[in-house]
């Protein structure tokens, strides 16, 4: 094969190229093209030297991106030409992993069961027929089982299993689909399922699956150990089983997600758009919000919601369950005790989940890192060229993939906020964002927050000397970061500035920009609660130029759990006294005399009633005043149900001068007062206008005030033209899409969050950027 005219090139491939079958792909490509050389994994990714005629080398380097295996994400292919040829080289080889040096290889995320594996799983003639842990280089668990890099079996929780001869032969054959598939296993050598009943009795192997299926068929609750943790499952077609799960989980209202057998089943119980189908079918296997088909399933799965969260199986044993007759749709909700993170260790699950489950289906392949289901939504609007994919939760299948900001960053570790926390670490131009961790008020969650920060840093061999955290003095992550971490600098980043910076970063807006940040609550530098803010600035600093009028949060956090408190506070603010407030909004009659008196006094005298300029609370208030939701069982239930009334129809209400916000200069900023909107709602309610239409008018008023305010801000000399929309309130699809449309119509560039959640799950990214900017100032 050696020719006198052979050239040699060195190629570095960066991105998600380890643990995804990339080296065997390179090997085959080389063999097909008849070139020689070698390929190896090192801490930066994949390194190749290749030798042969120039035209073959060109085809080879083109193929590295164009023909890459499905799980790979090739970010960069850097070619060094004119490397000194190696005489007498006569083959292409896969070399042992190189160690040391800069660690920028990306840990692959967990993924689905690929079509090849699924076919084998279902093939009675295959040696892995019905084996629940089948996988290959193109599929299977990754991030959830990795203990350290480089990604090798010995560094995963599969280290406990020794491959049998046939498995080892596959593993060592570069032309096999299982070449260096680290979780490779079969029934003879790999993990096994076990089903344990509440009385402690257990069955193993195929009998475990039978037991789980039988329990599901009887309408029982089964805890299932999935890829990143436990689920709680019931037969979704069985209303009594759904009711049982609801009563045991003490959840009356929070929507459950479902797992369906296949896309056909998904289309039977929901009406997914082509975009939604594409997301449902993606290897990340997220939960995708798709419009329900009324009557297809019990309404109690997702009450008062036009959508249903639907996903396809993400593990072989899921397929083996939903393939069974009658079990084609399962409710799959997080396997936790309320307030706690999802269980992911067998011992904990067996100790705790019998409070909810009749049977626990688990296995002996440990989960190293807890990874919740990701939840995404695909949205489109006729006036937007591009669809908007929003992460409601970014976790399994996506973590720990980085966001590439395109800007070289100081190494920073960011600890996020308090609820829905994620951790972020910067390296080069990338920011690695952890999986969803959760509410740090829970000790176990806080522990996993610390562990995740350490794990992410270890995986990438990072030891950042700069930390970023929220400004809120009582957040646990703040106290931890300030008190315990061995860093040189800690940057306290105001919550809404972090939201804004997060959106700027993923859209590569250099700044300055106008930030429209709407969420539930964040700590402001003036020690009041913020949440309906218009900011102007860049990464290092931003100033607030406008805010929503403040309402008292009656009873502090209690107001969040009882939207009627904020509804009442809003009505009192507009109508002055209790009698007039109740007359305007009959839903307030739910408050007895005593409550009306005490709440009014709290509002007037400021008794445990901290003022908040929060848009989330305004949505709460309107939901309560319109009688949609007075007590919230889950976070943002009021706003979600208020939006649910729109039935995903994104048409703005006709312009109506009554539905406006008053603009009042207060100190050095503008206060936006919804009083006219509230009065119009009361009038229209009295005139018999239906609640869905009132919701639409309210939503539309908010959209219009956003667009108008942005236009006014942008009209100032040298004002920015980029508008970033961020904060949890922008999970509201109507608001998000229409704000994008209307702000663009006003001649400005509008951006929103697409790579990370717009809620506090995306905060850590913004914290990194702010800390970087301040640290390098």
């Amino acid at each position: 094969m050696l020719t006198g005219t052979a050239a040699r090139r060195r190629v570095r491939v960066a991105g998600v190229v380890q643990g995804v079958g990339y080296r065997p792909f390179v090997y085959k490509l080389a063999v097909d093209l008849g070139v020689t050389g070698w390929v190896l994994n090192d801490p930066q990714g994949v390194l190749i030297e290749v030798q042969g005629p120039d035209h073959a080398l060109d085809a080879f380097t083109d193929g590295l991106t164009a023909l890459a295996p499905p799980q790979a994400r090739v970010e960069r292919v850097a070619v060094t030409r004119d490397v000194v040829p190696v005489p007498d080289e006569d083959a292409f080889a896969i070399r042992a992993s190189g160690l040391g040096g800069d660690r920028s290889a990306i840990v692959p995320a967990d993924s689905y069961v690929c079509a090849d594996c699924l076919a084998e799983l279902r093939d009675p003639a295959d040696r892995r027929h019905g084996y629940p842990f089948i996988n290959c280089t193109n599929c299977g668990p990754r991030y959830s089982i990795v203990r350290a890099l480089p990604y090798d079996r010995a560094q995963t929780t599969m280290a406990a299993f020794t491959m049998c001869d046939p498995c080892r032969a596959e593993y060592e054959d570069p032309l096999d689909r299982r070449y260096h598939a680290q979780p490779n296993a079969c029934a003879d050598c790999g993990p096994r399922l076990t089903a344990t009943a509440a009385d402690g009795s257990a069955v193993d192997g195929p009998a475990a699956l039978d037991a789980a299926a039988a329990a599901l068929a009887r309408g029982e609750v089964v805890a299932i150990k999935s890829v990143g943790g436990f689920h709680l499952a019931v037969d979704a077609r069985n209303g009594a089983a759904v009711a049982r799960l609801r009563s045991r989980k003490r959840r009356d209202a929070k929507p459950f997600a479902i797992m369906v057998r296949d896309l056909a089943t998904a289309a039977e119980v929901t009406a997914p758009t082509p975009g939604e189908v594409q997301l449902i079918d993606s290897p990340a296997r997220p939960v995708v919000l798709a419009r329900k088909r009324p009557g297809a399933l019990p309404g109690t799965i997702a009450p008062r919601n036009p959508n249903l969260g639907v996903m396809l199986p993400s593990a072989p044993h899921h397929h083996l369950l939903v393939d069974r007759p009658g079990l084609d749709v399962l409710v799959m909700t997080s396997g936790n005790i309320s307030g706690f993170p999802i269980e992911y260790r067998n011992a904990d699950a067996l100790a705790r989940l019998f409070a909810v489950a009749d049977l626990v289906l688990h296995h002996d392949r440990d989960i190293e890192v807890r990874v919740d289901d990701s939840v995404v939504r695909w949205s489109s609007h006729p006036e937007l060229d591009e669809p908007v994919v929003s992460f409601l939760r970014r976790s399994r299948g996506y973590a720990p993939y980085p966001v590439d900001t395109g800007v070289p960053l100081t190494p920073v570790v960011a600890y996020g906020a308090e609820l829905k926390t994620t951790v972020a670490l910067s390296h080069g131009t990338r920011v690695y964002l952890s999986q969803h961790i959760g509410d740090l008020k829970n000790d176990e969650t806080f522990e996993s927050h610390r562990r995740t920060a350490r794990h992410l840093a270890d995986l990438h061999e990072l030891a950042p000397r700069v930390a970023a955290t929220d400004l809120h003095p009582q957040f646990r992550a703040t106290r931890f970061a300030v008190g315990e971490q061995p860093v040189d600098e800690v940057h306290r980043v105001q919550h809404h500035h972090a939201h804004m910076a997060s959106c700027m970063a993923e859209n590569r807006v250099a700044g300055p920009a106008i930030g429209v940040v709407f969420d539930g609550a964040g700590y402001g530098p003036d020690e009041t609660t913020w949440g309906g803010e218009f900011l102007v600035g860049g990464y290092a600093d931003a100033v607030r130029v406008a805010r929503l009028r403040r309402l008292p949060l009656l009873g502090g956090d209690q107001a969040v759990r009882e939207p009627i408190r904020t509804g009442y506070a809003l009505a009192l603010d507009v109508f002055g006294e209790p009698g007039a407030a109740v007359a305007a909004f009959p839903a307030l009659a739910e408050l007895d005399e005593q409550r009306r008196h005490v709440f009014a006094t709290m509002a007037r005298r400021g008794v445990n009633a901290p003022p908040a300029s929060s848009m989330g609370r305004l949505f709460d208030a309107v939901a309560a005043l319109l009688g949609v939701c007075s007590l919230a069982e889950y976070e943002a239930q009021g706003p979600i149900e208020l939006e649910g009334l729109l039935d995903r129809d994104h048409t703005l209400a006709a312009p109506d001068p009554r539905y406006r916000f008053d603009r009042t200069p207060v100190d050095d900023l503008v206060e936006l007062d919804p009083a006219p909107v509230v009065r119009a709602l009361a009038d229209d309610l009295a005139a018999g206008v239906g609640t869905p239409e009132l919701s639409r008018r309210f939503h539309s008023a908010v959209v219009r005030v956003v667009a108008e305010e942005c236009a006014l801000i942008a009209a100032a000399p040298r004002a920015p033209r980029d508008v970033v929309l961020s904060g949890g309130v922008f999970l509201n699809e109507f608001l998000l899409l229409n704000c994008l449309v209307e702000v663009r119509r006003a001649g400005l560039a509008a951006h929103c969050q697409r790579q990370v959640p717009t809620n506090d799950g995306g905060i850590a990214l913004g914290q990194v950027l702010v800390a970087h900017a301040r640290s390098t100032q």
Partner: protein, 339 residues
């Protein structure tokens, strides 16, 4: 102008001249047999041998006059209770008063009368005192300071006597004092249904310690500012063990719970003036509860939790379904953090 003829306290009542002499004279008269001093520059007092306990506290109560008590009663109870909980028998009190000019004389009389009545109930004597009058706005009506001396007739109770496994007992309901005062201050309407628990507890402590073997009660603390949460955190840190309590076991009066729910505050963070947290040898738990319940101030005594036998500090509240949540120490006033 004498105390009897002046309708309100004036600055001259604090100048040290004739008017102040008259004021002090009337205060002493009002205190009656609760007063033991001789108007010298210092009081000369007999003390039994051995160790004494001494404490001091300043009292700023808003409002100083409330439904079933006033700042005078609180000033005696606070100091008496601080002495009692370390196992001492309170004997003597000092009484310092900072009075805002303009305080109606009738109000001052009420405070002094409360001091007298409470001191008599507690069996302590006021032995010396001081009054200062400050201009309007320089104080809020009236501030008091009391210092107290007690003697030990048994071994002092100490925090370091607490052992893993000890039971945590509350002598009475929590939250009432805070709700009562807040209700009066802000006009919330609970003030007649929820009364302050303010009471001198040395009598109850004395009967309790007489009824159970030495060492059965390891340590106790009056649950005042900072509430139960602060007390439990202090013990958890001192003992180096977690302290756990059951949400459902907490003694909270129905109307108090209603009020704290509406106000969005947790009773474990509320101040009390007549409630003890006791750390008790599990073997003596029943006897301790019986002794407490036999007393008029301990009728609702109840075990709420225990000191863990496992390592680590921290305070945990258990829900009825068995799940535990860490109770954070408040750094200051609670801020909203739900997002």
């Amino acid at each position: 102008m004498t105390l009897a003829t002046s309708a309100e306290v004036v600055l001259d009542h604090g100048t040290g001249a004739k008017l102040s002499q008259e004021l002090i004279g009337e205060i002493v008269d009002l205190l009656g047999e609760a007063y033991l001093g001789e108007m010298e520059d210092s009081a000369t007092l007999p003390l039994p041998g051995g160790r004494i306990a001494m404490t001091t506290d300043s009292f700023v109560v808003d409002p100083p006059f409330f439904g079933n008590g006033d700042i005078g009663k609180i000033a005696v109870c606070g100091t008496v209770n601080d002495l009692a909980v370390v196992g001492a028998r309170p004997l003597y009190l000092t009484l310092g008063m900072i009075i805002e000019a303009g305080l109606p004389m009738e109000r001052l009389r009420q405070v002094v009368t409360s001091v007298r009545d409470t001191a008599l109930e507690a069996g302590v004597h006021v032995v010396c005192g001081d009054t200062k009058v400050v201009g309007r706005g320089e104080a809020d009506k009236i501030f008091l300071n009391t210092a107290g001396v007690g003697v030990f007739e048994r071994e002092p109770l100490r925090m370091r006597h607490v052992r893993p496994g000890d039971r945590v007992v509350l002598s009475g309901p929590i939250g009432n004092h805070t709700v009562h005062l807040l209700s009066i201050r802000e006009g919330l309407g609970f003030e007649t249904r929820v009364l302050s628990d303010c009471a001198p507890l040395n009598g109850m402590v004395d009967e309790l310690l007489a009824a159970v073997p030495a060492g059965a009660v390891r340590s106790m603390r009056d649950v005042t500012r900072g509430g139960l949460a602060a007390v439990l955190h202090e013990y958890a840190a001192a003992v180096g063990r977690p302290v756990r309590f059951d949400q459902a076991a907490l003694p909270v009066q129905f109307e108090t719970r209603m009020a704290t729910d509406m106000l969005g505050i947790d009773p474990i963070h509320t101040a009390n003036e007549g409630c003890l947290a006791l750390f008790v040898d599990p073997a003596a738990e029943a006897d301790v509860l019986a002794a407490l319940r036999a007393h008029r101030y301990g009728g609702h005594a109840v075990t709420i939790g225990e000191v863990g036998t496992d390592e680590g500090a921290g305070v945990f509240s258990r829900a009825e379904d068995g799940t535990a949540a860490r109770v954070d120490e408040l750094l200051g006033a609670e801020l909203p953090r739900l997002c």
